[in-house]
């Protein structure tokens, strides 16, 4: 019997509400010290990824978010048996605890912005054409022509990046005011100006949304995507020492695990 993992939560208590996960299997919490890992049981190998199974997984995580701080586990994570799971929990306990503490009462929000790259480039070319003096003046040999074309392209790309930086900086000032942490990616494609995730405290959610609405109203030629609240998929950080507990730390930890905790879910596994 394998265990399908949904997330690590900041509670060792059983989940009060009935939650059903992949293939309608009952979801329960396997406690480890003062935290727990939420799982369901799975008999057969995982089928192909479908929209349905992704949504089932996500629905469980969202259900948990309502009552707990959740470290979401990657979709399709399976562990063979309860003993392996407890051993993993033991190895990474410190990291799980640190992350749960850091991410308590915080959610992740995603913001993507598409800008009209073609028009922006067109304007840059017009401006650069006006500033003829900045253009490279070389002879007419093929290699000189090659360099001239490359240099023109280099100037356009450089200006394009500078404009992207400027827009992102302005947007980020507004969003960062209400965010605890952020991850920003610029120009993943020419059109996708911004692909960012922000970690926002629960009580700042409405301020963050207002900041987004404000930004949205300033540039109507840009396109926006706002998503969330998500569990902090992009903000779970593991230390380099993960899994390297000393003997005394391991004994300390195991002493905290009660006999009852060792037996949760043991009937069927």
């Amino acid at each position: 019997m394998k265990l399908y993992l949904y997330g690590i939560i900041d509670s060792s208590n059983q989940i009060k509400e009935s939650i059903y996960g992949l293939k309608g299997a009952g979801v329960y919490n396997i406690p480890f010290c003062d935290i727990g890992v939420v799982v369901s049981e799975i008999n057969q190998p995982m089928q192909k990824v479908t929209e349905g199974t992704v949504l089932e997984h996500e629905a469980v995580v969202e259900n948990l978010m309502a009552d707990f701080t959740v470290l979401p586990v990657r979709f399709q994570t399976l562990i063979e048996g309860r003993d392996n799971l407890l051993s993993t929990m033991q190895s990474y306990y410190r990291d799980f605890k640190d992350n749960l503490e850091r991410l308590r009462d915080k959610f992740e929000f995603g913001i993507k912005v598409i800008w009209p790259a073609d028009k922006i480039k067109e304007n840059i070319i017009k401006t650069l054409n006006k500033e003829q003096q900045k253009k490279l003046k070389l002879g007419s040999s093929p290699s000189n022509k090659f360099m001239k074309d490359k240099f023109d392209k280099y100037k356009i790309d450089k200006e394009f990046e500078a404009k992207a930086d400027k827009f992102i900086k302005v947007m980020d000032i507004f969003f960062s005011k209400f965010a605890a942490e952020k991850r920003i990616e610029k120009l993943k494609t020419e059109n996708l100006l911004l692909d960012a995730v922000y970690l926002v405290e629960k009580d700042k959610e409405s301020n963050f949304r207002e900041a987004f609405e404000h930004i949205k109203s300033t540039r109507s030629d840009f396109k926006y995507l706002f998503s969330g609240p998500w569990p902090a998929y992009n903000f779970v950080v593991f230390s380099k020492q993960s899994g390297l507990l000393t003997d005394s730390q391991q004994i300390d930890l195991l002493n905290k695990v009660t006999q009852d905790q060792m037996l949760v879910g043991a009937d069927s596994i």
């Binding site: 259900n63 000189n144 120009l187």
Partner: protein, 113 residues
């Protein structure tokens, strides 16, 4: 109780298109199938050469911009880069590779292509 996660946008198709484009980099696994191993390796090697070629080109442009190259040096660099680019085109054609297939995610620096 659900946490009410939502995705709000007025242009879903455009975002799907851009996200798909952004994910079309190198595959996460090297295709080591016996029938395609030659092409797989060529793709990997040419991607690395393309990375170096682009770095060289960018460095040359920076030096041109800073005015630290004479006209003669610019012409020499131009000839070298032009030959390198032509050779790359030939190799891509031999192995049936397209530009977008020689992509590399450079982490915080973005994609190569």
């Amino acid at each position: 109780m659900m946490a009410n996660t939502m995705v709000e946008t007025e242009s879903p198709e455009e975002f799907i298109e851009e996200i798909e484009k952004a994910q079309n980099g190198l595959p996460k696994k090297i295709d080591a199938n016996p029938k395609t191993v030659e092409k797989g390796l060529a793709k990997l090697v040419l991607t690395l050469i393309e990375l170096i070629r682009k770095l060289l080109e960018k460095q040359a442009m920076r030096r041109v911009e800073a005015g630290s190259l004479s006209d003669e040096q610019i012409e020499n660099v131009g000839e070298t880069l032009m030959k390198l680019e032509n050779k790359m085109e030939e190799l891509k054609e031999i192995f049936g590779l397209k530009n977008e297939e020689l992509n590399l995610n450079l982490g915080p620096l973005g994609d190569l292509m």
